[in-house]
């Protein structure tokens, strides 16, 4: 029963943290805006914070139970915590850092994480990626029952990130430990986490795989977080089975999803087509607006047109001669206009 | 800002030149008497030996009044002060805290083990007088009970007044100001040594008239009355 069970309730600055999670031999990515309570969750599991109410149990062993006044101190819990800025001991070498919690697995980890050449170096002499590996090795040296990672990639520059992310993904895959990983980046969450939990203002608003989140985001935050278009409007069923949605600024859209009352409209950027003139097609929704930004991403371009973001191939963008200020028409099918009930 | 600091520093030193205040260096035991006789003068009180050092170092002062002739005679021989004249006498007494925790009634009682005695240090007038008195009484081994040797008679008085010392040797004139906290025990006549207070004008004074006026005041009727009132003897 390789499971971490946790339930927490704790007041934060302007709202209360309240959630329940069960993490098996998997990596759960906790995402959310800063201040949402993600780090609080990690600290509570590690024992660095005593929540107002809560219970934390790992493999059947209870680490925290506020109702029964059980609170095992951090040094007696079996956690490995990788801090956001790594918190490596500056006055110790890499070898001493890794062996700090105990020498049992130190040598093995130094080797498996490729640190043998650096054992006598001081943290100040290491690169960001190297520090991350040392922090990970150090956290794992005690053979923890639970692994906690606080924004493991945010201290790295863009260039190192992708590389380290791949390494981390591989390491986590090998370890098969209940792992909670906190991040504010959807791509990192999707790459590293088998499941993603979205926390907004202290509560989990959605828990599922990356695909689940993209397919059916339940809240504006989840949608925005996943890089999807999210518009707000009021829906009304039509006689022909379609649903009409009137957006805030007046545009009318048609959707094949049912809905009524206040709704969120989710449109995938890659399902939005751009043209200089509106195509004649009544099953499509059209939004005519000037282009505000053009952002290249790999071999595609994300184009912001009015309230929508479209993602098209770089070739198409060039063919259309797109540039900021140019008025274009963004089109998307009624079947690609997904509705999420709000309110 | 730097200029202001330097200016202030310059203004605060060498104050006597161009300044009409009389500066008197006097032994500590004269604090109250001189304070009353010359409230407008700049009075500096300390052990007579310390004041002598200041004059040797060239302090710009006008009058020197000591608790012992030895320092005055030295300074006179060195040509640093004019001929000193005795203006008061004092006598040595033994004081104990008013509650007398060690039950001291006579010098002999000071021999008791555990008695905490405070005296002036050697070289300080009251210290020298104390040793002389004990010699004359043949009681010098009482000095083995000394727990502190003060540089100033005020130090002796305060330690007895606070109750930290069981007894101390001070001047008779020190008893009155501390009357609430100490009790005096007179010494036998054989022990009494002459405590003479000389006063003189300091050579190089820039306030000769005021200096001489002050000395006349001290030697005159008003001065003698004030001294007697404070417990001094007058010649």
């Amino acid at each position: 029963m390789d499971a971490l069970q946790l339930s927490l309730a704790h007041p934060l600055r302007s709202f209360g943290l309240e959630l329940e999670l069960e993490v098996g031999a998997e990596t759960l990515a906790l995402v959310g805006p800063s201040g949402a309570g993600k780090t609080t969750v990690l600290r509570a599991v590690a024992g660095l914070l005593h929540p107002q109410r809560g219970r934390v149990a790992v493999n059947g062993r209870v680490w925290l139970d506020t109702e029964r006044a059980i609170d095992v101190p951090p040094e007696r819990r079996s956690v490995g915590l990788v801090f956001q800025e790594y918190a490596l001991f500056p006055h110790m070498t890499v070898a001493q850092n890794v062996a700090y919690g105990g020498t049992a697995r130190a040598a093995e980890l130094l080797e498996s994480l490729g640190l043998t050449a650096l054992v006598r170096a001081r943290p100040a002499e290491l690169s960001g990626g190297e520090r991350q590996r040392v922090a990970l090795a150090r956290a794992l040296a005690r053979d923890p029952a639970v692994l906690l990672l606080d924004e493991p990639l945010s201290a790295l520059d863009a260039h190192t990130r992708a590389h380290v992310r791949a390494e981390l993904r591989e390491a986590l895959g090998r370890l098969r430990l209940p792992t909670i990983l906190v991040t504010h980046d959807f791509e990192d969450a999707a790459a590293l986490g088998e499941r993603i939990g979205v926390i907004v203002e202290g509560k989990i608003v959605q828990l599922g795989t990356a695909a689940d989140l993209i397919a059916l985001p339940v809240s504006p935050f989840v949608a925005e977080f996943a890089g999807l278009n999210f518009l707000r409007g009021v829906a009304r069923a039509r006689d022909d089975g379609l649903t009409e949605v009137v957006l805030e600024e007046g545009t009318r859209l048609l959707s094949t999803d049912p809905g009524s009352g206040p709704v969120g409209v989710v449109v995938y950027p890659w399902e939005v087509a751009l043209a200089l003139e509106a195509p004649v097609d009544s099953t499509q929704n059209h939004v005519r607006a000037p282009i505000s930004t053009l952002v290249p991403v790999a071999n595609r371009v994300r184009v912001r047109v009015g309230p929508l973001t479209a993602e098209i191939t770089a070739a198409s963008a060039e063919r259309l001669g797109l540039e900021p200020g140019r008025t274009v028409v963004a089109s998307f099918k009624a079947t690609g206009t997904r509705l999420v009930e709000l309110g | 800002m730097l200029a202001a600091a330097v200016g202030l520093l310059a203004a605060s030193c060498g104050g006597s030149s161009g300044d009409s205040k009389l500066t008197v260096l006097a032994a500590s035991s004269l604090t109250d008497v001189f304070g009353a006789l010359a409230p407008d003068a700049r009075l500096s009180f300390a052990g007579s030996d310390e004041l002598a050092t200041q004059i040797r170092e060239g302090a710009q002062v006008d009058v020197y009044a000591a608790a012992s002739p030895s320092y005055a005679d030295e300074l006179y021989a060195e040509g640093l002060i004019e001929r000193p004249r005795v203006f008061a006498t004092n006598r040595l007494v033994l004081v104990v805290p008013s509650d007398n925790p060690a039950g001291i009634e006579a010098i002999g009682d000071l021999h008791r083990p555990g008695v905490r005695l405070v005296v002036g240090a050697e070289g300080v007038p009251v210290g020298d007088y104390t040793r002389k008195a004990l010699e004359q009484l043949g009681q010098t081994d009482v000095l083995s009970r000394v727990v502190s040797e003060e540089d100033d008679v005020k130090g002796v008085v305060s330690k007895v007044a606070f109750g930290e010392a069981d007894a101390g040797f001070v001047y008779a004139t020190d008893v009155k100001p501390a009357a609430d906290d100490v009790r005096a025990i007179e010494l036998p006549r054989e022990a009494q040594t002459e405590v003479l207070y000389p006063i003189a004008v300091v050579v190089g004074t820039e306030h000769r008239e005021e200096a001489e006026r002050f000395i006349e005041l001290v030697l005159g009727e008003r001065g003698r009355a004030a001294l007697r009132k404070a417990g001094f003897g007058v010649p």
């Binding site: 590690a46 024992g47 660095l48 101190p73 951090p74 040094e75 007696r76 819990r77 956690v79 490995g80 915590l81 801090f83 800025e85 918190a87 490596l88 001991f89 500056p90 006055h91 700090y100 919690g101 105990g102 001081r122 943290p123 100040a124 150090r138 956290a139 040296a141 005690r142 | 052990g47 030996d49 310390e50 002598a52 050092t53 925790p101 905490r116 405070v118 240090a121 050697e122 070289g123 300080v124 000394v146 727990v147 502190s148 040797e149 003060e150 540089d151 130090g155 305060s158 330690k159 606070f162 109750g163 930290e164 010392a165």
Partner: protein
């Protein structure tokens, strides 16, 4: 324009350096080295040295021994009344030494708040060597505490947390992480406290009195000898400077890892 500014900086430094070093130099040049050495061997000087070193060491052990854990608490935890405590421990700093002396008498003297009770049990503190230790510790402790608190506070909290998650309890975390990283600041505080304590005069002379070989420290000896034998006074003064120099230099040899605070 830039050259003129640089010149101004150098001149300011030169004046300041001269001002600080001249009195020290003059002290050593006032008497011939031969006389100086002869006087350094005099009873007065050696006794004073012994009293200063012995009482200074004991006071220092007290200040560092009690001050370090206290500073750790104040530097790493928040609690109600913390700022009040911080102000309270700085009080001896603003107290004139004579007032400190009276305060010590009021507390530990024979009729003092605590001293009275001790007196009844047959223990007297005032006018003994123990009084010197207390006086020195009293005036020197804020100097150590301030630096120590700052040193512990500047240790990255994440490092202490990391240590806990790696299996080290509060004491081991203090010993293995906090102490080494704060050592630089603790050393600096130690020097300041030592300097202040060694030079202590006002409170000592009031509370402990002055007796050669028992309570007469180097500063007290200088003062006592000043009007008696100037050469001895100067010799003792020179001795005090040398002792202080020795302490300053020895601190420079603290291990180099004390220069870190976080990575």
């Amino acid at each position: 324009m830039r050259r003129a500014f640089d010149l101004l900086l150098v001149v300011a430094l030169a004046i300041l350096l001269g001002f600080l070093l001249l009195p020290l130099l003059a002290l050593f040049l006032r008497v011939s080295p031969g006389t100086l050495f002869a006087q350094l061997g005099s009873d007065v000087a050696l006794d004073a040295l012994w009293v200063t070193v012995k009482t200074g060491l004991i006071a220092h052990v007290l200040v560092v021994g009690l001050g370090t854990p206290a500073a750790y608490l104040l530097g790493t935890r928040q609690f109600r009344g913390r700022s009040f405590v911080l102000t309270a421990i700085e009080l001896p700093l603003v107290l004139p030494p004579a007032v400190a002396g009276i305060a010590l008498i009021a507390a530990f003297g024979r009729r003092g708040l605590l001293g009275g009770k001790l007196e009844a049990a047959g223990i007297t503190i005032s006018l003994t060597q123990a009084a010197v230790v207390l006086a020195v510790a009293f005036v020197a402790s804020p100097f150590y505490l301030r630096q120590a608190i700052e040193a512990f506070a500047s240790v990255d909290r994440a490092l202490l947390d990391a240590s806990r998650t790696l299996g080290s309890g509060p004491f081991r975390t203090f010993r293995r992480v906090a102490l080494p990283l704060a050592a630089g600041g603790l050393g600096a505080g130690s020097v300041l406290a030592w300097a202040r304590g060694t030079g202590e005069f006002g409170a000592t002379i009031m509370f402990a009195g002055s007796l050669q070989g028992v309570t007469q420290t180097l500063p007290l000896a200088i003062y006592a000898q000043l009007d008696q034998d100037q050469t001895v006074a100067i010799a003792v003064g020179a001795l005090l400077v040398l002792v202080s120099l020795a302490v300053l230099v020895s601190v420079k040899f603290l291990p180099s890892w004390t220069r870190f605070s976080s990575a």
